[in-house]
Symmetry: C2
Subunit: 251 residues, 2 copies
């Protein structure tokens, strides 16, 4: 049966998150509804690279589904976008081999987190986290460097998480760009724990405020304790930017 991979962007503002929940507006729910309409009532399940929480956005979420229909790539894109609400958009659709799985084949993910420090801007409120205090960017930069590489990130995962298995992840990039009064943080790694980026941002902001020294990062990594830090930066600053797959799975 043909397998279709889709590249998806969404404005998460008006969603209760990615994952299907009954009686809630979810990204998965809207897409499965559109696919079911397209398949004349046959329910079609999608598999995404991972979930995102309520209010979190995506520029490059990836999902796949299997279909009995024989439709050219470009038509999939057009047909689905016609059926989807205007805050979801399929940027690209293509046939992939049955070895491809949006979640299990992913080798790298990239998240961006936007923080604004200037005058409050109503037009950015849903897409950035606005803070009213100045940050010591030198300290934040040093802390970013300490997060790079392979660590057990237990301390940086949600106490609500029920996931089992290893909390060891490798971060290939932890950096930020300054653009006017906006800081764009970039996190790239082989995987992320639940709420990991938002918890890291919470710690980085405390370091930027001078509440902690950058060395706190090493202590937190060492302690492997979910209860230490309970500040999770708000969802609207977080954007799932890109999911990468091995080249051989894509054609």
């Amino acid at each position: 049966m043909p397998r279709i991979k889709c590249l998806l962007s969404y404005d998460g503002t008006n969603y209760a998150g990615f994952q299907f929940q009954p009686n809630q507006r979810t990204v998965q729910g809207e897409i499965e509804k559109a696919l079911t309409t397209f398949h004349k009532g046959t329910w079609t399940r999608i598999h995404a690279s991972g979930r995102t929480d309520a209010g979190v956005h995506a520029r490059g979420q990836v999902f796949h589904f299997d279909t009995a229909f024989n439709v050219p790539d470009e038509n999939w894109k057009r047909a689905l976008n016609t059926l989807l609400p205007d805050d979801l958009h399929i940027q690209h659709a293509e046939h992939v081999s049955e070895d491809f799985h949006a979640r299990y084949s992913a080798v790298e993910k990239e998240y961006h987190y936007f923080i604004r420090t200037g005058i409050y801007d109503v037009f950015k409120r849903n897409y950035t986290h606005h803070i009213a205090y100045p940050l010591d960017l030198g300290a934040v930069r040093e802390a970013c460097g300490r997060l790079l590489g392979t660590h057990d990130f237990t301390t940086f995962s949600s106490a609500k998480s029920t996931a089992k298995g290893s909390c060891v992840r490798t971060l290939h990039e932890v950096s930020f760009l300054e653009q006017g009064d906006t800081l764009e943080f970039i996190f790239r790694g082989n995987g992320f724990l639940y709420n990991m980026v938002r918890i890291i941002i919470g710690v980085l902001l405390d370091i930027g405020k001078g509440k902690f020294e950058p060395g706190i990062i090493d202590e937190m990594l060492e302690k492997k304790d979910r209860q230490i830090h309970r500040k999770t930066a708000p969802p609207q600053g977080l954007h799932l930017w890109k999911v990468s797959y091995p080249d051989n799975l894509l054609k």
Copy 2:
């Protein structure tokens, strides 16, 4: 009684427009509710430079109100922003003389209208008008030039308008900037009729598509007939940018 002038920005997406309507979420309604709370239940009416329709935004709307309270400028701003929802923001508040009136004292208004011609972007859907066809920008530029100056703009006003009085207005600027795949139109003039900018954009898009020659502008101005052109560009591209007042009224 002290008179306070406020500079206001708002994301119009979730409003039924500026003007108060019972049982609707309006900009005026939210601000008067906040002012009434601040005045311990005494209803306080505001007067704006003009209305905006549902979905239209403002970077620089101006309103004034009279108050029996004696509060420094900076405190007005802080107190009101605390009471207002997050899609409304007072950028500036100041005491003005009783000769100042947000509507009647205005000498110039500026609107910007944003059009996107590239790939659909979910994050811009509420703030720009996305079109899927190419535009002949040379023709659009020529048409802009024909709108400059003093004309009777009856043809460019809404057939729904019940306003009486002259439809003669002077446009001091009609231009556009190209920024990547975004066109930012700028309209600056001594006044605008109801729906005038959105109707002009509708005509400019038809000219850009090649449906009309730029000379249609002169014919339309000549005819003074509200029924000729019925295409009104959608509200979300429109932003009330700035309202200007004589210097002597401001201090």
